[in-house]
Amino acid sequence: MNITSPMVGKLLSIDVKVGDKVKKNDVVATIEAMKMQVKVFAPEDGEVAAVNAAPDTVVNPDTVIVVLK
């Protein structure tokens, strides 16, 4: 399960690390866009398999930020 950003923005932080167990709606990353901090939520329960994006880069709606298994 790939987690992508809901919108274009600057990635502020990845709020999980590989191996973390996450529940649906847990925050996995934070981006900054349109004068707001925008949280990226886990769409379902899972374990973080990979982190694919780095803070301070621009993420698009098709950028995979975190991969869950």
């Binding site: 809901p6 919108m7 274009v8 900054e32 866009a33 349109m34 004068k35 707001m36 901090q37 925008v38 949280k39 698009n60 709606p61």
Partner: protein
């Protein structure tokens, strides 16, 4: 005489058996109620009156002359729901898979025509294997009767569609063209074409649920407004929604006694908004604290989550609520959010339901993705919908209300009758950072200490414009209020506005950017 009566009883009994024991067992096994069970569950006991039970098709081709289809595969009739009249059509999947033929369609269309003329809501329960191909052009024509009937009834009576089984092909325009679509999670499917057709025409392998299920329509496409767990849950939710609606566009939206004090203060709202303007919060909390008894019926909660729309009550009056959701994409308005809001606003306007608009939005979404998707023409739908709407409109600016989004979410001069601002409100054309860097670009560039000058200019702009008072001085905000006073202010405003009358010169309609 008794023979005649016995004949009637036998005919009725036979039709009520629908497609027979085996087909009914299959329907139950699929986790579905039959059409007649749905009708029985939906209407107040003893009030349902069936019409057109004896109608038969007239097709003889392909052995159809020997085919008996009880009630033509659709049960039609009227009765009371929550004590008020409703017209319903329930497709019977057990009778030739509820296929849509000439007389099946005619029954459907006539029911909508009658509901329109009598001014009562129409509820359609869809569960059909699709077009009855044996009937050729007559089937196609029946779709036209149906679409025409529902189009001409649109805006006169509320029309609700329930996807309780499949509804695929051109027939799927039928649910989508009604006011609200309810979809059963495990059994409801809607699509322009099913997986088989997609496979043969496009070579794509995809299953029915992925292509046409609730994820497809309640999350991705936005065609579905309410997801139900099963048939009973679906019918319960429809009853719940009907309780908010007037019978037709000549009636005012209903008022019920909710027992909730309209003038009570809501101290929990003071300090609810995070001090840092960049931090999100869940607007649902605000809505739930404002409406009577915290009861909010949300529409399309999983589609375009950056805007929240739905029905609640203030002082017992049905009210449509449109609210930014800072918790999702910062509450920015993108194409999908604008579409979702605009159609809801128009529904409320058609059925005399006042609107309450809660702002915390930084902008319409910018950037290539949304620009090329047409944010301008989608965002325009909100402007059109709000300015067109003649129902009472009350706006509360909670925090951000910037630029085009200030206009698009309904400000004083795009139609709000009354506008309140919280002390936290920042109502202006652009954020201070952007403004200062444009206005004072030269000064900052040429300064000995550019950072210092920039910071100073930003602060000046912020002090001047990033507050509710600048707008209040011009009368764009009618009053700056404590968050805790919001419920009381909304209730009193709606009371004052309830007989609002607007006169405009005649035109066919505005040319909204569809």
């Amino acid at each position: 005489m008794s023979k005649l009566y016995e004949d009637l009883a036998a005919k009725r009994e036979k039709i009520k058996q629908m497609g027979g024991e085996k087909a009914v067992a299959g329907q139950h096994k699929a986790g579905k109620m039959t059409a007649r069970e749905r009708i029985e569950y939906f209407f107040d006991p003893g009030t349902f009156t069936e019409i057109g039970m004896h109608i038969k098709h007239r097709i003889t081709a392909f052995g159809m002359d020997k085919k008996e289809i009880p009630a033509e595969g659709v049960v039609i009739g009227y009765g009371k729901v929550n004590g008020k009249m409703v017209m319903a059509a329930a497709e019977d999947y057990t009778s030739m898979a509820g296929t849509f033929g000439e007389y099946h369609g005619k029954k459907f269309a006539q029911a909508i025509d009658m509901a329109k003329d009598m001014g009562i809501p129409f509820v359609g329960m869809n569960d059909s294997g699709g077009a009855r191909l044996q009937e050729g052009i007559d089937t196609l024509q029946a779709y036209a009767w149906l679409f025409k009937a529902q189009n001409l009834a649109s805006g006169i009576i509320p029309q609700l569609s329930l996807l309780m089984g499949p509804c695929l092909g051109g027939q799927a325009y039928h649910p989508v063209m009604q006011d609200f679509v309810f979809q059963c999670r495990k059994t409801g499917f809607m699509g322009i074409a099913g997986p088989a057709f997609v496979k043969t025409q496009l070579g794509i392998d995809i299953d029915l649920e992925t292509l046409c299920g609730v994820q497809a329509h309640a999350v991705k496409s936005g065609c579905t407004h309410v997801v139900a767990e099963d048939d009973k849950d679906c019918l319960d939710k429809v009853k719940e929604m009907l309780a908010f609606l007037p019978q037709n566009n000549r009636e005012k939206a209903p008022r019920i006694d909710t027992g909730d004090d309209p003038y009570r203060l809501v101290p929990e709202l003071d300090g609810l908004i995070p001090e840092k303007t960049m931090m999100p919060f869940d607007m649902h909390e605000v809505i739930n604290l404002l409406v009577d008894n915290g009861y909010f019926f949300e529409i399309a909660p999983d589609f375009a989550k950056n805007i929240i729309v739905g029905f609640g009550r203030f002082n017992g009056y049905t009210t449509g609520i449109i609210a930014s959701q800072p918790n999702w994409m910062g509450g920015v308005i993108d194409c999908n959010a604008a579409d979702k809001a605009a159609r809801f606003i128009r529904f409320c306007d058609l059925f005399n339901i006042p609107l309450v608009n809660l702002h915390d939005t930084p902008a319409f979404m910018i950037g290539p993705d949304e620009e090329w998707k047409g944010i301008l023409r989608h965002g325009a739908k909100m402007l059109y919908a709000y300015i067109d709407a003649t129902v009472p409109k009350v706006t509360v600016m909670l925090r951000k209300s910037f630029a085009g989004a200030y206009l698009g979410m309904c400000c004083k001069d795009t139609g709000a009758d009354l506008v309140f601002g919280w002390p936290e409100a920042t109502v202006t054309i652009v954020g201070a950072e952007t403004a200062a860097s444009v206005i004072f670009a030269k000064e900052i560039k040429n300064a000995e200490n550019p950072q210092e000058v920039r910071a100073k200019r930003i602060q000046e702009y912020r002090d001047l414009y990033e507050n509710p008072y600048n707008a209040a001085e011009r009368g764009y905000i009618d009053d700056v209020i404590m968050p805790s006073e919001t419920r009381s202010k909304i209730c009193l405003s709606l009371e004052m506005l309830k007989d609002k009358a607007v006169a405009r010169p005649h035109r066919k309609f505005s040319n909204i950017n569809l």
